[in-house]
Symmetry: C2
Subunit: 574 residues, 2 copies
């Protein structure tokens, strides 16, 4: 393709609302155009990259025997009522009513559609397992669309669904997906990717992994052990604690007038914050009733873990009423109002002497020992993991906290959907059972932007050969010169006939502008044809990542360039 | 792929709501599953066909230098307000409000999005022409979804948009699309396709063509001249009439008590219906005011042509009020209430003597001559063309009326959208101008169903090799027999390694069931491996269209089958 024929322009500067590098470069380079919050059109270069990513995904899906199907974008509300998600999902699901008054929704995920397609047709155990997938547009009414294609409302996604008659069989397929995802990321050129255990959130199910591309601009926080390779999303990372028991002391009520915060208490008692049993008040979403989490003073509550433990939605208390029986600032586990639920974090286990509120205005206890003064309690892990925490696998206190972008996820769903939607098969012994499901997603646009984020310099993206919009760019530095153009035109012709994807810049513009544009196109191999080179009988060939800079004799240049492209592609082979 | 691994079942009978052949077969064959009115999921075989059709379309779009982009499915209402279509399009456009209260719509076509993508980036005449296209999901809240994938609400469509600086340039691209569409239809194996002139409807613009697949189940009616090849959609087909002038008579008022219909008048006067000036009453949508069309008694009014002539929406009069001044049953052009608009169809031109109503209860005129008795009027063509009408091109009275399915359309849009949405470029002389647009659509699912409709027998589809879900089906008639399975497995393996797409049925079922399923898969080449054949050292090879039935020696069968596939593919080459 010639640059003159390509729709889209390149810009020196990015608009001020572009805060991350990939967003800036994809706007500056004429890849994407914003239409509304989180809604983009793709220009040809971005569409070409997306298609290449999709094809790599397709190849890897085929390789693990997944069959491509297609679900609708628009679905009837009734289908989502069957699973219960029509009500359990909130305003992130777009809903509308058709001309006949029927309620419809836009698909943000397709578990319901997958069960709809498979039920009634897979009625015998002999027809299992099977895996279906699609690559389709989805819409999620994301309140915080940002970062270009990183967090959007409309997106293209590969979503796969597998169906099984046993947990073991699901685990086999789950493992194959895990490996397929690793291959996909390698093949599209994403480098720093780790798989982390994660919270299944609204998807249901228990075991799940997120594939994270490590980058400072990531929205997710991860706990990673550099010693043993353990990694987990902060949302679910267990927080192992090596408590010092300390001396046993007597329980003593102490007057602490107006001393309410951990900071003030530290100063008042002159002791470390690890010595306090901090109280954090939550309310249940369903009825705003209160519950209190007791946790070591230096730690924070991980609300996802708390929610998972409770099995219901909670939020930090917005207001503490007088009738609640809670004495704000002086809350403690001893003599707490009987109507209140108390949750004890594992970080308090085994500590002999703690400071805590006395449930009485302006009083605290010192020397508190949970077992002795409160009784036997169930300690649960609801603390946020922290830098230097103990690794739950290798036991070393070396946990590091990093940020990442989620570029894929795999879930073991169990029978949540097949049960709710009444999908059954007859087992070997004639018994009707619900199949066990897995689901597996990769967002195409986000993956493209993530690779750009990871693989760029300040001048533009450095696209990996496997997903580059074109493989070679020819820069004709003097298109008004017949001899130069003859060489450049000839190369363009020959390379295209040889099946090489070429972008040809034959505009009559200054070399500086042409090279700036070339940097924004980010095409791996650049061929410069100039009067000086032509006089010397050569063309200049370099790679966008600067690893190669050489000259090829004009005679035979096409063949050498083709070989270079093939060599660079090798790295990303399936 | 093995049939055992394929999701979807085949059925002997279709549900009773399937009224057309392709719908029946695509349900019976496990191609599609209905989720809601006009909303379908596709099983793997249908998805494979769709992908092949899409790839053929892509190749032909690339060939005419169109670049693939991607527009969003969800768009802001504001964009559609710019073009005016947010209000001019009615309930067929799905609308909803996001969590922030912003009004959004689902794309049913993408002219607005195309202008949004191109404006501000194509600001100089030097950047024209260019053509962009996408293959994307669309939603149109069609009130009469029916016929499986023929008329749906959600559909995948290739839509292209071209931008030009002159009408001549648009016409060049328009002609290239016309030819590309002919190649696409030939390559996907659609046989009886004609391009007809059509009404541009809500798209705006003037010149447009629809590509019609001729079939009795078509929803569109076409006027075709078998002599010269002229063809047009009934909606716009001009109706040429060879009127006999007849004798001049005197105007006479005649008492016709209670004689109101053409049928009754024919009997009363004893003359042919061609001798009557029939009055047809319409109302304007905007204010329900009346207008009257006078037309020859044997003809009908074509409402699309009437609407186009008037430049506004009208509907047949629901009720005729007393205040209207209209004497129902006795309406005529002489002495008509001055407030009423009268439209004279060309079919009345040059007739010397007509019978018409006298605008007086129970009276008609005979001998009426429009020019003499009414005055000079503008005759316009608002009549429906009919079997045996005169061809407007070659002049022979041989027009035939056929039915067709619209499987593509191309429109010359002019500056309707670029003007409304303020897209300009600087012309050679520095003047700001609006680019001229064309738009070009093909529905992928409808094309698949149309090919099925045209290419099937009562046992199943007969897919053309170019779009068949697989190229070869191997039927292993005795999968429990080791020797037979060795031959079938080996063929499967070898053919797949040679790049042939194979569906392998190795189920232990009766041959009758296996062949019934094979007919529903509609795969072009069938290879039967049975104990009898194996004993004879051969496999049986036949084509789904019954044109070939032969045997290949087991040794070398793979090579012969591969050659047969290649030969059958030849026909559909680009």
């Amino acid at each position: 393709m010639k640059v003159t024929a390509l729709l889209g322009e390149r810009f020196k500067n990015a608009p001020s609302d572009c805060t991350i590098e990939s967003h800036k470069l994809m706007v500056r380079g004429g890849y994407i155009k914003n239409m509304a919050s989180g809604i983009y059109s793709l220009y040809a270069p971005a569409k070409r990259i997306a298609k290449k990513i999709e094809n790599i995904i397709r190849e890897e899906m085929d390789r693990i025997d997944a069959q491509e199907v297609m679900f609708p974008v628009v679905m009837p509300a009734s289908l989502w009522e069957e699973s219960g998600r029509y009500t359990s999902i909130g305003s992130e699901m777009a809903r509308f009513t058709d001309r006949g008054g029927n309620r419809l929704v836009l698909g943000m995920t397709h578990e319901e559609a997958a069960v709809h397609l498979a039920r009634n047709t897979a009625s015998s155990y002999t027809q299992y397992p099977f895996t279906i997938y699609q690559i389709q547009t989805k819409f999620r009414d994301e309140p915080r669309a940002r970062g270009g294609l990183i967090r959007v409302r409309e997106f293209t996604m590969k979503d796969a669904y597998s169906f099984h008659t046993s947990q073991e069989d699901l685990e086999k397929t789950y493992a194959r997906f895990y490996e397929a995802y690793e291959r996909i990321y390698r093949r599209v050129g994403a480098k720093n990717v780790v798989a982390v255990k994660s919270d299944s959130g609204m998807m249901g199910g228990s075991i799940s992994h997120e594939f994270m591309l490590l980058t400072d601009i990531g929205e997710d926080t991860l706990a990673i052990c550099p010693e043993c390779g353990y990694s987990a999303n902060m949302e679910v990372a267990s927080c192992e604690i090596d408590n010092e028991a300390g001396e046993v002391e007597e329980l003593k009520k102490v007057s602490t007038p107006g001393v309410k915060t951990i900071e003030a208490l530290k100063e008042f008692f002159g002791i470390d914050e690890k010595k306090f049993a901090k109280a954090v008040v939550y309310q249940r979403n369903k009825d705003d009733s209160y519950l209190i989490v007791f946790i070591r003073g230096d730690l924070e509550v991980n609300e996802t873990k708390l929610r998972n433990y409770l099995g219901e939605e909670v939020h930090p208390a917005a207001v503490i009423t007088e009738e609640s029986g809670i004495v704000a600032g002086f809350i403690g586990p001893i003599g707490l109002d009987g109507g209140l639920t108390a949750v004890f974090d594992k970080s308090l286990e085994g500590i002999n002497s703690l400071v805590c509120g006395a449930n009485e205005q302006d009083f605290h206890y010192t020397g508190m020992n949970v077992e002795r003064d409160v009784g036997k309690v169930d300690y649960v892990d609801v603390a946020k993991v922290f830098e230097g925490a103990v690794c739950p696998v290798c036991g070393k206190p070396v946990i590091t906290v990093k940020r990442g972008i989620e570029i894929g996820n795999i879930f073991q769903l169990g029978t949540k959907y097949t049960k709710a939607m009444n999908m059954t098969y007859l087992d070997r012994d004639g018994e009707a059972k619900n199949p066990i499901m897995g689901c597996y997603g990769i967002g195409v646009g986000r993956l493209m932007a993530s690779v750009c984020e990871e693989s760029c310099d300040k001048y533009g993206p450095i696209w990996p050969m496997s997903i580059a919009p074109w493989q070679v760019e020819i820069c004709n530095l003097r298109s008004t010169d017949e001899a130069v153009s003859r060489v450049a035109d000839g190369l363009y012709e020959t390379l295209q006939n040889d099946g090489v994807e070429v972008l040809y810049d034959d505009r009559d513009i200054r070399p500086g502008s042409m090279f700036a544009d070339a940097d924004l196109f980010g095409i791996p191999v650049r061929v410069v044809v100039s009067p000086k080179n032509c006089d010397a009988g050569v063309v200049e060939v370099s790679t966008r990542d600067k690893s190669i800079k050489t000259e090829f004799a004009i005679d035979g240049a096409a063949e050498e360039i083709r070989a270079l492209v093939a060599k660079l592609l090798e790295e990303y082979k399936g």
